[in-house]
Point group: C2
Chain length 301, copies 2
Protein backbone atom coordinates (compact mmCIF):
# COMPACT_ATOMS: atom_id res chain seq x y z
CA UNK A 1 0.00 0.00 0.00
CA UNK A 2 1.50 3.35 -0.95
CA UNK A 3 1.28 6.66 0.83
CA UNK A 4 1.16 8.34 -2.60
CA UNK A 5 -2.48 7.28 -2.88
CA UNK A 6 -3.61 9.47 -0.03
CA UNK A 7 -2.97 12.69 1.79
CA UNK A 8 0.09 13.46 3.87
CA UNK A 9 -1.90 13.60 7.12
CA UNK A 10 -3.16 10.07 6.55
CA UNK A 11 0.32 8.86 5.64
CA UNK A 12 1.62 10.30 8.89
CA UNK A 13 -1.23 8.73 10.87
CA UNK A 14 -0.60 5.37 9.29
CA UNK A 15 3.13 5.53 9.93
CA UNK A 16 2.53 6.24 13.62
CA UNK A 17 -0.22 3.61 13.92
CA UNK A 18 1.90 0.92 12.28
CA UNK A 19 4.78 1.78 14.59
CA UNK A 20 2.53 1.38 17.64
CA UNK A 21 1.15 -1.94 16.39
CA UNK A 22 4.60 -3.37 15.66
CA UNK A 23 5.87 -2.27 19.07
CA UNK A 24 2.86 -3.80 20.81
CA UNK A 25 3.22 -7.09 18.92
CA UNK A 26 6.90 -7.13 19.81
CA UNK A 27 6.04 -6.58 23.46
CA UNK A 28 3.16 -9.06 23.80
CA UNK A 29 4.22 -11.99 21.63
CA UNK A 30 6.55 -13.82 24.02
CA UNK A 31 10.13 -14.45 22.99
CA UNK A 32 10.53 -16.77 25.97
CA UNK A 33 7.75 -19.28 25.25
CA UNK A 34 9.34 -22.71 25.70
CA UNK A 35 11.12 -25.01 23.27
CA UNK A 36 11.18 -22.68 20.26
CA UNK A 37 7.45 -21.95 20.41
CA UNK A 38 8.00 -18.25 21.02
CA UNK A 39 10.42 -18.03 18.14
CA UNK A 40 7.86 -19.61 15.79
CA UNK A 41 5.08 -17.31 17.06
CA UNK A 42 7.21 -14.20 16.58
CA UNK A 43 8.36 -15.36 13.13
CA UNK A 44 4.71 -15.79 12.16
CA UNK A 45 3.51 -12.36 13.18
CA UNK A 46 6.40 -9.86 13.44
CA UNK A 47 8.02 -7.87 10.68
CA UNK A 48 5.54 -8.52 7.91
CA UNK A 49 1.97 -8.11 6.83
CA UNK A 50 -0.03 -5.09 5.79
CA UNK A 51 -1.71 -4.79 9.23
CA UNK A 52 -5.03 -3.88 7.61
CA UNK A 53 -7.02 -5.27 10.55
CA UNK A 54 -5.09 -3.40 13.28
CA UNK A 55 -5.38 -0.18 11.26
CA UNK A 56 -9.14 -0.68 11.00
CA UNK A 57 -9.37 -1.20 14.77
CA UNK A 58 -7.42 1.98 15.51
CA UNK A 59 -9.31 4.04 12.91
CA UNK A 60 -12.70 2.87 14.24
CA UNK A 61 -11.62 3.63 17.81
CA UNK A 62 -10.68 7.15 16.72
CA UNK A 63 -14.10 7.58 15.11
CA UNK A 64 -15.76 6.94 18.50
CA UNK A 65 -13.11 8.63 20.67
CA UNK A 66 -12.15 5.27 22.17
CA UNK A 67 -9.13 4.83 24.44
CA UNK A 68 -6.01 4.21 22.37
CA UNK A 69 -4.55 1.73 24.87
CA UNK A 70 -7.69 -0.42 24.69
CA UNK A 71 -7.79 -0.22 20.90
CA UNK A 72 -4.15 -1.25 20.68
CA UNK A 73 -4.88 -4.45 22.59
CA UNK A 74 -7.82 -5.15 20.30
CA UNK A 75 -5.61 -4.44 17.27
CA UNK A 76 -2.96 -6.91 18.42
CA UNK A 77 -5.55 -9.56 19.25
CA UNK A 78 -7.15 -9.34 15.80
CA UNK A 79 -3.78 -9.52 14.07
CA UNK A 80 -2.83 -12.59 16.14
CA UNK A 81 -5.99 -14.37 14.97
CA UNK A 82 -5.28 -13.38 11.36
CA UNK A 83 -1.64 -14.47 11.58
CA UNK A 84 -2.48 -17.82 13.20
CA UNK A 85 -4.99 -18.52 10.42
CA UNK A 86 -2.27 -17.96 7.82
CA UNK A 87 0.10 -20.35 9.63
CA UNK A 88 -2.51 -23.12 9.65
CA UNK A 89 -3.79 -22.30 6.15
CA UNK A 90 -0.29 -22.61 4.68
CA UNK A 91 0.27 -26.12 6.07
CA UNK A 92 0.55 -29.10 3.71
CA UNK A 93 -2.87 -30.48 4.67
CA UNK A 94 -4.47 -27.15 3.70
CA UNK A 95 -3.00 -24.91 0.95
CA UNK A 96 0.53 -26.33 1.14
CA UNK A 97 2.15 -22.96 0.56
CA UNK A 98 5.88 -22.43 1.03
CA UNK A 99 6.14 -18.65 0.62
CA UNK A 100 4.40 -15.98 2.72
CA UNK A 101 5.29 -12.29 3.02
CA UNK A 102 8.39 -13.10 0.98
CA UNK A 103 9.70 -15.63 3.55
CA UNK A 104 9.45 -19.40 3.95
CA UNK A 105 6.17 -20.27 5.67
CA UNK A 106 6.22 -21.26 9.34
CA UNK A 107 5.93 -25.00 8.75
CA UNK A 108 8.78 -24.88 6.23
CA UNK A 109 10.97 -23.03 8.71
CA UNK A 110 9.99 -24.78 11.99
CA UNK A 111 8.26 -28.02 10.99
CA UNK A 112 4.57 -28.87 10.85
CA UNK A 113 4.09 -29.79 14.50
CA UNK A 114 5.61 -26.53 15.77
CA UNK A 115 3.60 -24.57 13.17
CA UNK A 116 0.35 -26.12 14.36
CA UNK A 117 1.24 -25.41 18.01
CA UNK A 118 2.34 -21.86 17.23
CA UNK A 119 -1.00 -21.20 15.55
CA UNK A 120 -2.88 -22.72 18.48
CA UNK A 121 -0.88 -20.65 20.98
CA UNK A 122 -1.42 -17.47 18.94
CA UNK A 123 -5.19 -17.94 19.09
CA UNK A 124 -4.99 -18.32 22.88
CA UNK A 125 -2.65 -15.33 23.11
CA UNK A 126 -5.22 -13.13 21.38
CA UNK A 127 -7.60 -13.74 24.29
CA UNK A 128 -4.78 -13.26 26.82
CA UNK A 129 -4.01 -9.84 25.35
CA UNK A 130 -7.70 -8.93 25.68
CA UNK A 131 -7.88 -9.91 29.37
CA UNK A 132 -5.12 -8.05 31.23
CA UNK A 133 -5.20 -8.07 35.01
CA UNK A 134 -3.79 -4.61 35.35
CA UNK A 135 -4.71 -2.31 32.47
CA UNK A 136 -7.14 0.44 33.54
CA UNK A 137 -7.83 1.23 29.86
CA UNK A 138 -9.55 -2.12 29.50
CA UNK A 139 -12.17 -2.61 32.25
CA UNK A 140 -13.57 -6.16 32.55
CA UNK A 141 -16.90 -5.46 30.77
CA UNK A 142 -14.97 -4.18 27.73
CA UNK A 143 -12.66 -7.22 27.94
CA UNK A 144 -15.71 -9.48 27.79
CA UNK A 145 -17.23 -7.55 24.87
CA UNK A 146 -13.99 -7.73 22.85
CA UNK A 147 -13.49 -11.44 23.59
CA UNK A 148 -17.05 -12.15 22.46
CA UNK A 149 -16.71 -10.21 19.19
CA UNK A 150 -13.36 -11.81 18.39
CA UNK A 151 -14.39 -15.38 19.25
CA UNK A 152 -17.48 -15.19 17.03
CA UNK A 153 -15.49 -13.74 14.11
CA UNK A 154 -12.78 -16.41 14.44
CA UNK A 155 -14.94 -19.49 14.94
CA UNK A 156 -17.42 -21.69 13.12
CA UNK A 157 -19.74 -18.83 12.20
CA UNK A 158 -16.80 -16.76 10.94
CA UNK A 159 -13.30 -17.47 9.75
CA UNK A 160 -13.01 -21.20 10.53
CA UNK A 161 -16.45 -21.83 9.02
CA UNK A 162 -15.47 -19.95 5.87
CA UNK A 163 -12.33 -22.00 5.56
CA UNK A 164 -14.38 -25.19 5.82
CA UNK A 165 -16.61 -23.97 2.99
CA UNK A 166 -13.50 -23.09 0.97
CA UNK A 167 -12.07 -26.56 1.56
CA UNK A 168 -15.29 -28.24 0.46
CA UNK A 169 -15.49 -26.28 -2.78
CA UNK A 170 -12.02 -26.71 -4.29
CA UNK A 171 -12.62 -27.75 -7.89
CA UNK A 172 -16.39 -27.08 -7.66
CA UNK A 173 -18.29 -24.32 -9.40
CA UNK A 174 -19.83 -21.69 -7.10
CA UNK A 175 -22.30 -18.99 -8.03
CA UNK A 176 -21.66 -15.46 -6.83
CA UNK A 177 -24.03 -15.78 -3.87
CA UNK A 178 -22.23 -18.85 -2.51
CA UNK A 179 -18.83 -17.24 -3.14
CA UNK A 180 -19.93 -14.12 -1.26
CA UNK A 181 -21.21 -16.21 1.66
CA UNK A 182 -17.89 -18.07 1.85
CA UNK A 183 -15.87 -14.86 1.88
CA UNK A 184 -18.26 -13.10 4.25
CA UNK A 185 -17.16 -15.71 6.79
CA UNK A 186 -13.61 -16.52 5.73
CA UNK A 187 -12.15 -13.00 5.57
CA UNK A 188 -15.13 -10.65 5.98
CA UNK A 189 -16.03 -11.62 9.53
CA UNK A 190 -12.63 -10.74 10.97
CA UNK A 191 -12.32 -7.49 8.98
CA UNK A 192 -15.79 -6.46 10.16
CA UNK A 193 -14.91 -7.48 13.73
CA UNK A 194 -11.84 -5.25 13.52
CA UNK A 195 -14.09 -2.25 12.90
CA UNK A 196 -16.57 -3.25 15.60
CA UNK A 197 -13.90 -4.01 18.21
CA UNK A 198 -12.47 -0.54 17.61
CA UNK A 199 -15.97 0.89 17.93
CA UNK A 200 -16.54 -1.02 21.19
CA UNK A 201 -13.61 0.91 22.71
CA UNK A 202 -15.64 4.13 22.69
CA UNK A 203 -19.18 5.44 22.97
CA UNK A 204 -21.41 4.51 20.06
CA UNK A 205 -25.20 4.42 19.64
CA UNK A 206 -27.12 1.66 17.88
CA UNK A 207 -27.39 3.56 14.59
CA UNK A 208 -23.66 4.26 14.43
CA UNK A 209 -22.95 0.63 15.36
CA UNK A 210 -25.13 -0.60 12.50
CA UNK A 211 -23.50 1.83 10.06
CA UNK A 212 -20.01 0.70 11.12
CA UNK A 213 -21.09 -2.93 10.76
CA UNK A 214 -22.23 -2.16 7.19
CA UNK A 215 -18.95 -0.36 6.48
CA UNK A 216 -17.04 -3.36 7.83
CA UNK A 217 -19.03 -5.80 5.74
CA UNK A 218 -18.51 -3.80 2.54
CA UNK A 219 -14.78 -3.29 2.96
CA UNK A 220 -14.42 -6.91 4.09
CA UNK A 221 -15.85 -8.13 0.83
CA UNK A 222 -14.01 -5.47 -1.22
CA UNK A 223 -10.76 -6.68 0.32
CA UNK A 224 -11.38 -10.21 -0.96
CA UNK A 225 -12.45 -9.07 -4.45
CA UNK A 226 -9.25 -7.02 -4.74
CA UNK A 227 -7.25 -10.01 -3.43
CA UNK A 228 -8.67 -12.16 -6.21
CA UNK A 229 -7.90 -9.50 -8.82
CA UNK A 230 -4.32 -9.15 -7.58
CA UNK A 231 -3.84 -12.92 -7.44
CA UNK A 232 -4.84 -13.10 -11.12
CA UNK A 233 -2.81 -10.12 -12.32
CA UNK A 234 0.31 -9.60 -10.19
CA UNK A 235 3.57 -11.59 -10.13
CA UNK A 236 4.51 -13.53 -6.95
CA UNK A 237 7.35 -11.13 -6.20
CA UNK A 238 5.00 -8.17 -5.85
CA UNK A 239 2.58 -10.16 -3.64
CA UNK A 240 5.20 -11.77 -1.40
CA UNK A 241 3.36 -15.05 -1.84
CA UNK A 242 2.74 -17.54 -4.64
CA UNK A 243 0.56 -15.83 -7.28
CA UNK A 244 -2.05 -17.67 -9.34
CA UNK A 245 -2.32 -20.24 -6.56
CA UNK A 246 -6.11 -20.10 -6.30
CA UNK A 247 -6.67 -20.54 -10.02
CA UNK A 248 -4.13 -23.38 -10.11
CA UNK A 249 -5.97 -25.08 -7.25
CA UNK A 250 -9.26 -24.68 -9.13
CA UNK A 251 -10.65 -22.56 -6.35
CA UNK A 252 -13.52 -20.33 -7.38
CA UNK A 253 -12.58 -16.62 -7.16
CA UNK A 254 -14.32 -13.35 -8.04
CA UNK A 255 -12.24 -13.27 -11.21
CA UNK A 256 -13.22 -16.78 -12.33
CA UNK A 257 -16.89 -16.22 -11.41
CA UNK A 258 -17.40 -12.63 -12.62
CA UNK A 259 -14.49 -12.02 -15.01
CA UNK A 260 -11.71 -9.50 -14.41
CA UNK A 261 -13.48 -6.33 -15.52
CA UNK A 262 -16.66 -7.05 -13.57
CA UNK A 263 -14.60 -7.98 -10.48
CA UNK A 264 -12.89 -4.58 -10.63
CA UNK A 265 -16.27 -2.86 -10.94
CA UNK A 266 -17.55 -4.84 -7.98
CA UNK A 267 -14.66 -3.60 -5.85
CA UNK A 268 -15.53 -0.01 -6.77
CA UNK A 269 -19.21 -0.54 -5.94
CA UNK A 270 -18.33 -2.00 -2.53
CA UNK A 271 -16.03 0.95 -1.90
CA UNK A 272 -18.95 3.30 -2.57
CA UNK A 273 -21.16 1.23 -0.24
CA UNK A 274 -18.57 1.51 2.53
CA UNK A 275 -18.36 5.30 2.19
CA UNK A 276 -22.14 5.61 2.15
CA UNK A 277 -22.29 3.65 5.41
CA UNK A 278 -19.79 6.04 7.00
CA UNK A 279 -22.00 8.91 5.88
CA UNK A 280 -24.98 7.31 7.67
CA UNK A 281 -23.03 6.72 10.90
CA UNK A 282 -23.53 10.25 12.26
CA UNK A 283 -19.94 10.09 13.55
CA UNK A 284 -17.76 13.16 13.04
CA UNK A 285 -14.31 11.62 12.87
CA UNK A 286 -14.52 8.91 10.24
CA UNK A 287 -11.69 10.32 8.10
CA UNK A 288 -9.28 7.48 8.80
CA UNK A 289 -11.90 4.85 8.04
CA UNK A 290 -12.65 6.72 4.81
CA UNK A 291 -8.98 6.71 3.83
CA UNK A 292 -8.50 3.04 4.76
CA UNK A 293 -11.41 2.03 2.52
CA UNK A 294 -9.66 3.80 -0.37
CA UNK A 295 -6.38 2.12 0.42
CA UNK A 296 -7.97 -1.36 0.54
CA UNK A 297 -9.47 -0.91 -2.91
CA UNK A 298 -6.42 0.76 -4.51
CA UNK A 299 -3.70 -1.48 -3.04
CA UNK A 300 -1.23 -3.23 -5.33
CA UNK A 301 -0.29 -6.12 -3.03
CA UNK B 1 -13.73 -44.46 36.38
CA UNK B 2 -16.02 -46.61 38.50
CA UNK B 3 -18.72 -45.55 40.94
CA UNK B 4 -17.78 -48.52 43.09
CA UNK B 5 -14.76 -46.60 44.32
CA UNK B 6 -16.78 -44.03 46.15
CA UNK B 7 -19.98 -43.43 48.03
CA UNK B 8 -23.47 -43.54 46.58
CA UNK B 9 -24.03 -39.81 47.10
CA UNK B 10 -20.97 -39.00 45.03
CA UNK B 11 -21.99 -41.50 42.33
CA UNK B 12 -25.37 -39.79 42.12
CA UNK B 13 -23.78 -36.35 41.98
CA UNK B 14 -21.44 -37.45 39.22
CA UNK B 15 -24.22 -39.03 37.21
CA UNK B 16 -26.24 -35.80 37.32
CA UNK B 17 -23.22 -33.61 36.61
CA UNK B 18 -22.17 -35.70 33.62
CA UNK B 19 -25.70 -35.55 32.28
CA UNK B 20 -25.70 -31.77 32.51
CA UNK B 21 -22.31 -31.49 30.83
CA UNK B 22 -23.30 -33.79 27.96
CA UNK B 23 -26.54 -31.88 27.45
CA UNK B 24 -24.74 -28.54 27.45
CA UNK B 25 -22.11 -29.76 24.99
CA UNK B 26 -24.89 -31.08 22.76
CA UNK B 27 -26.62 -27.70 22.90
CA UNK B 28 -23.59 -25.45 22.37
CA UNK B 29 -21.46 -27.34 19.86
CA UNK B 30 -23.20 -26.40 16.64
CA UNK B 31 -24.55 -29.14 14.38
CA UNK B 32 -25.11 -26.56 11.66
CA UNK B 33 -21.57 -25.20 11.27
CA UNK B 34 -20.90 -25.17 7.52
CA UNK B 35 -19.43 -27.79 5.19
CA UNK B 36 -19.12 -30.64 7.69
CA UNK B 37 -17.26 -28.56 10.26
CA UNK B 38 -20.03 -28.93 12.85
CA UNK B 39 -20.11 -32.68 12.33
CA UNK B 40 -16.35 -32.91 12.92
CA UNK B 41 -16.57 -30.70 16.03
CA UNK B 42 -19.37 -32.78 17.53
CA UNK B 43 -17.60 -36.04 16.69
CA UNK B 44 -14.53 -34.72 18.52
CA UNK B 45 -16.26 -33.76 21.74
CA UNK B 46 -19.61 -35.54 22.17
CA UNK B 47 -20.26 -39.03 23.52
CA UNK B 48 -16.84 -39.81 24.89
CA UNK B 49 -14.23 -38.74 27.37
CA UNK B 50 -14.08 -38.94 31.14
CA UNK B 51 -15.05 -35.25 31.56
CA UNK B 52 -12.60 -34.87 34.45
CA UNK B 53 -12.16 -31.15 33.76
CA UNK B 54 -15.88 -30.29 33.66
CA UNK B 55 -16.41 -32.29 36.86
CA UNK B 56 -13.62 -30.31 38.55
CA UNK B 57 -15.23 -27.04 37.45
CA UNK B 58 -18.62 -28.04 38.83
CA UNK B 59 -17.18 -29.41 42.08
CA UNK B 60 -15.12 -26.27 42.68
CA UNK B 61 -18.14 -24.08 41.96
CA UNK B 62 -20.11 -26.04 44.56
CA UNK B 63 -17.33 -25.51 47.09
CA UNK B 64 -17.76 -21.74 46.75
CA UNK B 65 -21.55 -21.71 46.24
CA UNK B 66 -21.09 -20.50 42.66
CA UNK B 67 -23.97 -20.26 40.20
CA UNK B 68 -24.46 -23.61 38.46
CA UNK B 69 -25.35 -21.99 35.12
CA UNK B 70 -22.08 -20.04 35.09
CA UNK B 71 -20.08 -23.09 36.11
CA UNK B 72 -21.68 -25.14 33.35
CA UNK B 73 -20.48 -22.66 30.72
CA UNK B 74 -16.98 -22.78 32.23
CA UNK B 75 -17.13 -26.59 32.26
CA UNK B 76 -18.05 -26.75 28.58
CA UNK B 77 -15.38 -24.20 27.63
CA UNK B 78 -12.63 -26.15 29.41
CA UNK B 79 -13.73 -29.42 27.81
CA UNK B 80 -13.72 -27.78 24.37
CA UNK B 81 -10.11 -26.70 24.87
CA UNK B 82 -9.15 -30.18 26.06
CA UNK B 83 -10.96 -31.86 23.15
CA UNK B 84 -9.43 -29.53 20.53
CA UNK B 85 -5.96 -30.28 21.90
CA UNK B 86 -6.58 -34.01 21.45
CA UNK B 87 -7.70 -33.48 17.85
CA UNK B 88 -4.53 -31.57 16.99
CA UNK B 89 -2.31 -33.84 19.09
CA UNK B 90 -3.53 -36.94 17.24
CA UNK B 91 -2.66 -35.56 13.80
CA UNK B 92 0.10 -37.17 11.73
CA UNK B 93 2.50 -34.25 12.25
CA UNK B 94 2.17 -34.68 16.04
CA UNK B 95 1.48 -38.09 17.65
CA UNK B 96 -0.06 -39.68 14.53
CA UNK B 97 -2.64 -41.59 16.52
CA UNK B 98 -5.54 -43.37 14.83
CA UNK B 99 -7.60 -44.45 17.85
CA UNK B 100 -9.14 -42.22 20.54
CA UNK B 101 -11.93 -43.03 22.98
CA UNK B 102 -12.33 -46.29 21.05
CA UNK B 103 -13.11 -44.53 17.77
CA UNK B 104 -11.05 -43.48 14.74
CA UNK B 105 -9.44 -40.10 15.45
CA UNK B 106 -10.91 -36.98 13.84
CA UNK B 107 -8.31 -36.69 11.08
CA UNK B 108 -8.81 -40.37 10.17
CA UNK B 109 -12.56 -39.87 9.96
CA UNK B 110 -12.73 -36.38 8.39
CA UNK B 111 -9.30 -35.69 6.89
CA UNK B 112 -6.43 -33.63 8.24
CA UNK B 113 -7.59 -30.25 6.97
CA UNK B 114 -11.04 -30.59 8.51
CA UNK B 115 -9.49 -31.89 11.76
CA UNK B 116 -7.21 -28.85 12.00
CA UNK B 117 -10.14 -26.48 11.32
CA UNK B 118 -12.41 -28.30 13.78
CA UNK B 119 -9.76 -27.91 16.48
CA UNK B 120 -9.32 -24.24 15.64
CA UNK B 121 -13.07 -23.65 15.71
CA UNK B 122 -13.41 -25.50 19.03
CA UNK B 123 -10.85 -23.20 20.65
CA UNK B 124 -12.81 -20.17 19.43
CA UNK B 125 -16.08 -21.76 20.56
CA UNK B 126 -14.74 -22.09 24.10
CA UNK B 127 -14.49 -18.30 24.27
CA UNK B 128 -17.89 -17.88 22.60
CA UNK B 129 -19.49 -20.06 25.28
CA UNK B 130 -17.86 -17.87 27.95
CA UNK B 131 -19.18 -14.60 26.46
CA UNK B 132 -22.97 -14.92 26.10
CA UNK B 133 -24.96 -11.78 25.31
CA UNK B 134 -27.96 -12.84 27.28
CA UNK B 135 -27.10 -15.04 30.27
CA UNK B 136 -27.70 -13.26 33.60
CA UNK B 137 -25.71 -16.00 35.39
CA UNK B 138 -22.55 -14.80 33.67
CA UNK B 139 -22.11 -11.03 34.12
CA UNK B 140 -19.40 -9.43 31.93
CA UNK B 141 -16.74 -9.15 34.68
CA UNK B 142 -17.03 -12.90 35.31
CA UNK B 143 -16.90 -13.53 31.55
CA UNK B 144 -13.64 -11.59 31.39
CA UNK B 145 -12.20 -13.44 34.39
CA UNK B 146 -13.04 -16.85 32.93
CA UNK B 147 -11.68 -15.93 29.47
CA UNK B 148 -8.43 -14.76 31.07
CA UNK B 149 -7.96 -17.91 33.15
CA UNK B 150 -8.74 -20.19 30.21
CA UNK B 151 -6.57 -18.35 27.68
CA UNK B 152 -3.53 -18.45 29.98
CA UNK B 153 -4.01 -22.17 30.70
CA UNK B 154 -4.41 -22.99 27.00
CA UNK B 155 -1.61 -20.89 25.55
CA UNK B 156 2.17 -20.64 25.46
CA UNK B 157 2.53 -20.56 29.26
CA UNK B 158 0.20 -23.54 29.61
CA UNK B 159 -0.96 -26.35 27.38
CA UNK B 160 0.51 -25.29 24.04
CA UNK B 161 3.86 -24.49 25.69
CA UNK B 162 3.88 -27.91 27.37
CA UNK B 163 3.21 -29.59 24.06
CA UNK B 164 6.15 -27.72 22.52
CA UNK B 165 8.41 -28.98 25.31
CA UNK B 166 7.05 -32.50 24.79
CA UNK B 167 7.77 -32.26 21.06
CA UNK B 168 11.32 -31.08 21.65
CA UNK B 169 12.11 -33.93 24.05
CA UNK B 170 11.01 -37.02 22.13
CA UNK B 171 13.90 -39.46 22.36
CA UNK B 172 15.76 -37.27 24.89
CA UNK B 173 16.35 -38.06 28.53
CA UNK B 174 14.62 -35.75 31.02
CA UNK B 175 15.16 -35.54 34.75
CA UNK B 176 12.15 -35.48 37.03
CA UNK B 177 12.21 -31.70 37.42
CA UNK B 178 12.05 -31.13 33.66
CA UNK B 179 9.36 -33.78 33.27
CA UNK B 180 7.31 -32.12 36.01
CA UNK B 181 7.69 -28.71 34.38
CA UNK B 182 6.53 -30.11 31.02
CA UNK B 183 3.44 -31.72 32.56
CA UNK B 184 2.69 -28.73 34.77
CA UNK B 185 2.08 -26.89 31.52
CA UNK B 186 0.87 -29.60 29.18
CA UNK B 187 -1.93 -31.10 31.29
CA UNK B 188 -1.59 -29.48 34.72
CA UNK B 189 -2.39 -25.93 33.68
CA UNK B 190 -5.81 -26.80 32.25
CA UNK B 191 -6.72 -29.11 35.14
CA UNK B 192 -5.77 -26.37 37.60
CA UNK B 193 -7.68 -23.80 35.55
CA UNK B 194 -10.75 -26.04 35.75
CA UNK B 195 -10.66 -25.76 39.54
CA UNK B 196 -9.99 -22.01 39.49
CA UNK B 197 -12.67 -21.26 36.87
CA UNK B 198 -15.17 -23.09 39.05
CA UNK B 199 -13.95 -21.12 42.05
CA UNK B 200 -14.28 -17.84 40.12
CA UNK B 201 -18.03 -18.54 39.78
CA UNK B 202 -18.53 -17.94 43.50
CA UNK B 203 -17.18 -15.94 46.42
CA UNK B 204 -13.69 -16.90 47.48
CA UNK B 205 -11.03 -15.11 49.54
CA UNK B 206 -7.32 -15.05 48.71
CA UNK B 207 -6.43 -17.86 51.11
CA UNK B 208 -9.08 -20.19 49.70
CA UNK B 209 -8.02 -19.27 46.17
CA UNK B 210 -4.40 -20.19 46.94
CA UNK B 211 -5.48 -23.46 48.54
CA UNK B 212 -7.62 -24.38 45.54
CA UNK B 213 -4.72 -23.50 43.23
CA UNK B 214 -2.49 -25.88 45.22
CA UNK B 215 -5.19 -28.58 45.07
CA UNK B 216 -5.45 -28.07 41.30
CA UNK B 217 -1.70 -28.27 40.82
CA UNK B 218 -1.42 -31.48 42.86
CA UNK B 219 -4.28 -33.31 41.17
CA UNK B 220 -3.10 -32.01 37.79
CA UNK B 221 0.24 -33.67 38.26
CA UNK B 222 -1.28 -36.78 39.86
CA UNK B 223 -3.49 -37.15 36.79
CA UNK B 224 -0.45 -37.29 34.53
CA UNK B 225 1.49 -39.69 36.74
CA UNK B 226 -1.51 -42.05 36.76
CA UNK B 227 -1.81 -41.63 32.98
CA UNK B 228 1.77 -42.76 32.57
CA UNK B 229 1.23 -45.73 34.88
CA UNK B 230 -1.90 -46.77 32.97
CA UNK B 231 -0.17 -46.32 29.61
CA UNK B 232 2.55 -48.72 30.77
CA UNK B 233 0.26 -51.32 32.37
CA UNK B 234 -3.15 -51.39 30.64
CA UNK B 235 -4.13 -52.85 27.24
CA UNK B 236 -5.33 -50.48 24.47
CA UNK B 237 -8.86 -51.82 24.75
CA UNK B 238 -9.23 -50.69 28.35
CA UNK B 239 -7.79 -47.23 27.58
CA UNK B 240 -9.76 -46.61 24.38
CA UNK B 241 -6.52 -45.40 22.80
CA UNK B 242 -3.25 -46.96 21.70
CA UNK B 243 -1.39 -48.15 24.83
CA UNK B 244 2.38 -48.06 25.18
CA UNK B 245 2.49 -45.24 22.63
CA UNK B 246 4.64 -42.93 24.72
CA UNK B 247 7.24 -45.59 25.47
CA UNK B 248 7.28 -46.65 21.80
CA UNK B 249 7.87 -43.02 20.78
CA UNK B 250 10.74 -42.79 23.29
CA UNK B 251 8.90 -40.08 25.19
CA UNK B 252 10.03 -39.69 28.78
CA UNK B 253 7.24 -40.64 31.24
CA UNK B 254 7.00 -40.91 35.02
CA UNK B 255 7.35 -44.66 34.64
CA UNK B 256 10.53 -44.45 32.54
CA UNK B 257 12.03 -41.75 34.79
CA UNK B 258 10.99 -43.03 38.25
CA UNK B 259 10.12 -46.69 37.65
CA UNK B 260 6.64 -48.15 38.10
CA UNK B 261 6.59 -48.57 41.88
CA UNK B 262 7.94 -45.08 42.58
CA UNK B 263 5.50 -43.58 40.07
CA UNK B 264 2.60 -45.22 41.94
CA UNK B 265 3.94 -43.86 45.23
CA UNK B 266 4.25 -40.41 43.70
CA UNK B 267 0.58 -40.48 42.70
CA UNK B 268 -0.37 -41.32 46.30
CA UNK B 269 1.80 -38.51 47.67
CA UNK B 270 0.21 -35.99 45.28
CA UNK B 271 -3.21 -37.24 46.33
CA UNK B 272 -2.33 -36.52 49.94
CA UNK B 273 -1.04 -33.05 48.96
CA UNK B 274 -4.32 -32.28 47.22
CA UNK B 275 -6.38 -33.29 50.26
CA UNK B 276 -4.15 -31.25 52.56
CA UNK B 277 -4.73 -28.20 50.36
CA UNK B 278 -8.50 -28.69 50.61
CA UNK B 279 -8.12 -28.80 54.38
CA UNK B 280 -6.32 -25.43 54.32
CA UNK B 281 -8.96 -23.80 52.11
CA UNK B 282 -11.33 -22.97 54.95
CA UNK B 283 -14.23 -23.92 52.64
CA UNK B 284 -17.01 -26.05 54.07
CA UNK B 285 -18.25 -27.86 50.98
CA UNK B 286 -15.18 -29.47 49.44
CA UNK B 287 -16.58 -33.00 49.51
CA UNK B 288 -16.90 -33.33 45.75
CA UNK B 289 -13.36 -32.07 45.17
CA UNK B 290 -12.19 -34.59 47.79
CA UNK B 291 -13.98 -37.43 46.00
CA UNK B 292 -12.73 -36.36 42.56
CA UNK B 293 -9.12 -36.39 43.77
CA UNK B 294 -9.65 -39.99 44.87
CA UNK B 295 -11.20 -40.91 41.57
CA UNK B 296 -8.33 -39.37 39.57
CA UNK B 297 -5.76 -41.41 41.48
CA UNK B 298 -7.75 -44.67 41.53
CA UNK B 299 -9.00 -44.64 37.93
CA UNK B 300 -8.37 -47.59 35.63
CA UNK B 301 -8.55 -45.77 32.27
Amino acid sequence: MGAELTGDAFAGWMHRALGEVEAALGRWVPADAPAGLGEAMRYAVLDGGKRVRPLLVLAAAEAVAGARAAALRAAVAVELIHAYSLVHDDMPCMDNDVLRRGKPTVHVRFGQAQAMLAGDAMQALAFEVLTPDDDPALPPPLQARLCGLLARAAGHAGMAGGQAIDLAHVGHALDEGALREMHRRKTGALLQASVLMGAACGAVDAAAWQALAAYGEAIGLAFQVVDDVLDATQPSQALGKTAGKDADAHKPTYVTVLGLAAARERAQALHAEALAALGRSGLAHTGRLHDLAGLIVARHH
